[in-house]
Symmetry: C2
Subunit: 131 residues, 2 copies
C-alpha cells in the first residue's frame, strides 16, 4: 500500500482522536491540514486501512459508520440517543468465546461484547429538558 500524505494524515488524525468519528467528522479534521482533500479520499482510505487491519470500522448504531484508530481488543458502548461510541473497560474479553454452544457452522473470526446505553451528554440533556 502506497504511502501518500493523505493516507498518512488520515491515519494519524484517526489515531489521535478518541471519539470514534464518522467519515465526515474525520474529513473536517483532516481538511485543516489538507484543505484540498476530497471526502471520497477519506472514504477510500478508511476502507483500505480497515481492510489492512490498521483501523477498525464500527458498523453498529445509527446510519453512519464510525472508525476507531485503536485496534487493541476492547469493547464499546453505543449511545442509543445520539450514536456516540465510547470504549468500555472490561476484564479479558476473550474468555467470552467460552459461552458459545452452537455457532451453526460459522467459522468464527472475531467476537466482542457490545453495550447500548445513554451517554453522559444525553443523560444531562434529559435532566434539563425533561424529554
Amino acid at each position: 500500500m502506497r504511502i501518500t500524505s493523505q493516507r498518512e494524515i488520515i491515519l494519524e488524525e484517526l489515531q489521535r482522536l478518541k471519539t470514534h468519528p464518522t467519515a465526515d467528522e474525520l474529513y473536517e479534521v483532516v481538511k485543516k491540514r489538507l484543505p484540498r482533500i476530497s471526502i471520497a479520499t477519506v472514504y477510500r482510505n478508511l476502507e483500505r486501512l480497515s481492510e489492512a487491519g490498521m483501523i477498525h470500522k464500527l458498523e453498529y448504531g445509527g446510519r453512519q459508520k464510525r472508525f476507531d484508530g485503536d485496534t487493541s481488543p476492547h469493547s464499546h458502548v453505543v449511545c442509543v440517543r445520539c450514536g456516540r461510541i465510547s470504549d468500555v473497560e472490561t476484564r479479558d474479553d476473550m474468555e467470552i468465546l467460552d459461552i458459545v454452544v452452537d455457532s451453526k457452522g460459522y467459522q468464527i473470526l472475531k467476537c466482542g461484547v457490545q453495550f447500548e446505553g445513554i451517554c453522559p451528554f444525553c443523560q444531562e440533556r434529559s435532566k434539563s429538558k425533561k424529554d
Copy 2:
C-alpha cells in the same frame, strides 16, 4: 398502536422467518399476501414495532439493517462476506455485564455478544471457487 392488516402481516412474517431479513427481503415476502403494499409501509412498521420492543433492529454489518422477530435474549454471528446473520447459542449471556470495569458514565441498558465469521454458504463458495 392501531392494528392494520399490513402491520399484522409484517409482524407475522417476520416472526415466521428465521433469517433476520432486510426490509426489502421482508417486503418481497409480505407482498405475496398484500400485493399492493408499499415498501414505505414496511419501513414505517418495522420502525414502530422495534420502538415498541416487539421486534429487534439489527444494525451491525453491511449497509442494510436487518430485523429479528425473536426478541428473546440471544447472540448473533454476522458473516463478514455476505452479511447474513444467524443466531448463536450461548450459555447465559447476562453474566457478561460482570466484565464491565468502567462504563465511562454511560447508563447501560443492554449488552450482547457479537460474533463475526464466515457462514457455511460462503465457506462452500470459497472451496469451489478458490477465492
